[in-house]
C-alpha cells in the first residue's frame, strides 16, 4: 500500500486505481476529509486518480492518508450494499407512500411483493378470509 501513498512534510499524494474504487466512492471519501485537510483532485479518472492532501493544523498527515484508504473501502462496501438492496428499498417506500391510497397500487411486482409480505399465495381464495362474527348473525 505504501507505494500508493507518498508523504512529504505535511502533504501526501495518494494514487488511486479507479478500476478498484468507483469514482463516486472517491468523491464520498474526499468530501468526508474536507474538514480535516485541504484536498486537490488530479489525474486521469480512467487510469490513475491523484488525491493531493495537505493536513490542517494539528492533524497528522500519515493518519489522514491511511484513513482515506479505509474510507474508500468503507464507502465501496456501502455502495455495493445500497445497490443490491435498491429494488426492495424502492418497493418498501412505494408501499409506504401508497398505504393511504390503494388506487395508486398498479405495479404487478408491487402486488406480488405485497402478497408475499402479507403471507398470501396465489392459491388463497375467498373462503380463507376471516369473516367477522357480527356478519354471521345478519
Amino acid at each position: 500500500m505504501e507505494k500508493n501513498i507518498k508523504i512529504e512534510n505535511d502533504k501526501a499524494v495518494l494514487s488511486i486505481n479507479p478500476k478498484m474504487y468507483d469514482l463516486e466512492v472517491i468523491y464520498s471519501a474526499t468530501y468526508l476529509f474536507l474538514d480535516k485537510s485541504y484536498i486537490i483532485l488530479d489525474g486521469d479518472p480512467k487510469k490513475e486518480i491523484l488525491v493531493k492532501i495537505k493536513a490542517k493544523k494539528g492533524k497528522d498527515i500519515e493518519e489522514i492518508a491511511h484513513d482515506f484508504f479505509n474510507e474508500l473501502i468503507n464507502y465501496s462496501d456501502y455502495k455495493k450494499r445500497a445497490d443490491s438492496t435498491r429494488k426492495i428499498r424502492e418497493l418498501i417506500l412505494q408501499r409506504a407512500l401508497a398505504t393511504n391510497d390503494p388506487n395508486l397500487v398498479e405495479d404487478d411486482e408491487f402486488d406480488r411483493l405485497l402478497k408475499e409480505l402479507d403471507g398470501e399465495s396465489e392459491e388463497s381464495d375467498e373462503n380463507d378470509m376471516i369473516v367477522p362474527w357480527e356478519d354471521d348473525e345478519n
Binding site: Y27, Y31, Y38, I40, D44, P45
Partner: protein
Amino acid sequence: MKISFNKNFYSKKAIETAIKDFNEFIISFNQEDFNLNIEFNEEVFDEFCNYVLGLSLNDR
C-alpha cells in the same frame, strides 16, 4: 498563485462561484477556463481550493 483545476473533477461554475464568494480576500485574478492565476491578501489559497472542490462535489 497559479492553479490549474483538473476539468475531470472540477466544474467551471464552482470556480466562478468561489471567486465571487472569496471576493473580499482576492487582490487580483485571471481566469481562463480551468486555469486560474490568483492573488490573495491573506493565506486563504488552501481554503479556496477546498471550497472549489466542495462546490464541485455538490454540483455532481
